[in-house]
Symmetry: C2
Subunit: 317 residues, 2 copies
């Protein structure tokens, strides 16, 4: 039996996407073309976890843990490095810059300044800066990033959304050749339920214990590297909880998919330590306690490492 074409399989076997894929495709295509023509490199960052609905009118779904912190932080450092960034992220996951206040209830930090006498100005609503560390700098960075037009945010929720948008992104970036980077940090489900097997209505608990059988999601890294964007620089992430198998799994991914870098990390230590694995080497990146206290983030080091590898990659090809 012939292997199914993965692009065809996305369209046929997965539930219809819940986002406007064609609009997003056009936006990504124009964004990539524009920045490339101005001599900029473009990185696609994927970020956050995917939802896999268990019902077509969805009440229940299978989810992957991911706040999207890594992707959102990395986007900032890629922007600093001069890249144009397509930020393909899970709806409501962390966002560049605003991620620093993700735990803030804004009503707690806003103060109402009522006019002191009739005829005064209207009431002012002012933010308490002592409760928003770094807010002046962050606001300046955020506004200047917006004005630069170098960030294109695109949202997904379900696995199907993600797969359709990844395919569209690859088609948008393919013309850029080696100037495009894929930085695949999203936590994508390995399993799904084929569209034809999803019940329409809420699963009834009165029917007894729940049996769920899920198929493996086709690995999109393979067609991405081989067919969709064969000249691009491709970085994937491997998150495990078991240290023993981590590097082996990273090596195996590289030899299976023939892409360029795996950033390998362990769930518990992922903010302080990663291993950048390529065909020929393993380099360890870490953030010391002292660096951490000074506000240095490991994504800063990861992005510096990868942009320099990307430069070498462009030079060699």
């Amino acid at each position: 039996m012939a292997e199914p074409n993965p692009a065809e399989q996305i369209r046929q076997d997965f539930a219809p996407p819940q986002v406007a894929v064609e609009d997003a495709a056009r936006a990504m295509e124009a964004f990539a073309r524009g920045h490339y023509s101005e001599g900029r490199r473009v990185v696609l960052i994927t970020s956050g976890g995917t939802k896999v609905p268990l019902e077509s009118r969805t009440v229940r779904f299978l989810d992957n843990f991911s706040s999207g912190r890594r992707g959102a932080a990395s986007a900032e450092y890629f922007l600093q490095a001069g890249y144009a960034v397509i930020f393909l992220h899970r709806h409501r996951s962390m966002y560049p810059y605003s991620r620093r206040y993700a735990a803030t209830n804004w009503l707690d930090v806003l103060r109402l300044h009522l006019p002191s006498a009739p005829g005064d100005d209207a009431p002012r609503v002012e933010a308490e800066q002592s409760q928003l560390p770094g807010i002046v700098q962050i606001l300046q960075d955020y506004k200047s990033m917006k004005e630069s037009g170098r960030l294109l945010p695109i949202e997904f929720s379900t696995l199907s959304d993600y797969l359709h948008l990844l395919l569209a992104a690859a088609q948008a970036l393919s013309p850029l050749g080696s100037s495009a980077m894929f930085y695949l940090a999203a936590a994508v489900s390995d399993f799904y339920i084929p569209a034809s097997e999803i019940p329409e209505h809420k699963i009834q608990s009165s029917s007894g214990p729940l049996q769920i059988t899920m198929k493996m999601v086709p690995k999109m890294l393979s067609p991405l590297v081989k067919d969709w964007a064969p000249k691009a620089f491709v970085v994937s992430f491997k998150l495990e909880t078991d240290t023993e198998i981590l590097i082996d799994k990273a090596r195996k991914a590289l030899s299976t998919y023939r892409h360029h870098v795996v950033v390998a990390n362990i769930l518990d230590t992922r903010r302080a330590f990663v291993v950048v694995v390529t065909d020929t080497e393993e380099s360890k990146l870490s953030v010391s306690d002292e660096e951490d206290r000074s506000g240095l983030e490991i994504e800063d080091k990861i992005v510096k490492d990868l942009t320099s590898r990307h430069t070498q990659f462009i030079t060699r090809t």
Copy 2:
């Protein structure tokens, strides 16, 4: 075989909670006692969906759809009605008052006012009121609610957290007799994986298709009504996608659990229409398009209906 004691089952069969249950129990107990002694009624609102981990070092989990909008909105109306409110909600689900700006990226609505000359004041960070409808009123309501001390927020993430906290809440409210109301709006999973069967590490996709078998969660409504808080006024919610079975299921729940009210609703129309089902009647509550445009929310009607039923309940008992 004897039925297992549900409180025992929570402690033995579910993964350990990831929140500080004893601290929360003490806080709820003191809160309930204090407000009751001042003659106030106390409502426990549960809100948001529950996570069911598929791995003990959790990467994957089963989730229920719920933004927590209904619970957060209801909390505001119960506060308006003079109740003290324990708001037992899913981490990062919607929150009273701030829910109105849940889709706002605050960095987009903050303006930096830099000092115009050296020696001026420090920069001010001001919110653009035109982008935050009603913000002055909301801020005033929020601050006065905080000062009143009538809202106690408690967070959960997993199903196990929720069950442990619900049991603790019932014990805290039981001494209040009929002055306590349970308003169980959370979308609680019907299924779980017993602690003894959860794998420690991330499930490996290389092992082939995923088979998940989940047990049914014991219905806590039964022991809540019978044993944990037998004099309280108990309201549950029923959300379905299939109109055909909705009222039947609500009636069946009432006769099984012997509580007082089921608020029945359909996923697609839940913001405009509910049926309040009791042993003796069904009353329909709805919000017209015109009411909707004027800002009226169905939770306002639901809470008015239920507080008046609660008054009758207290009088009769």
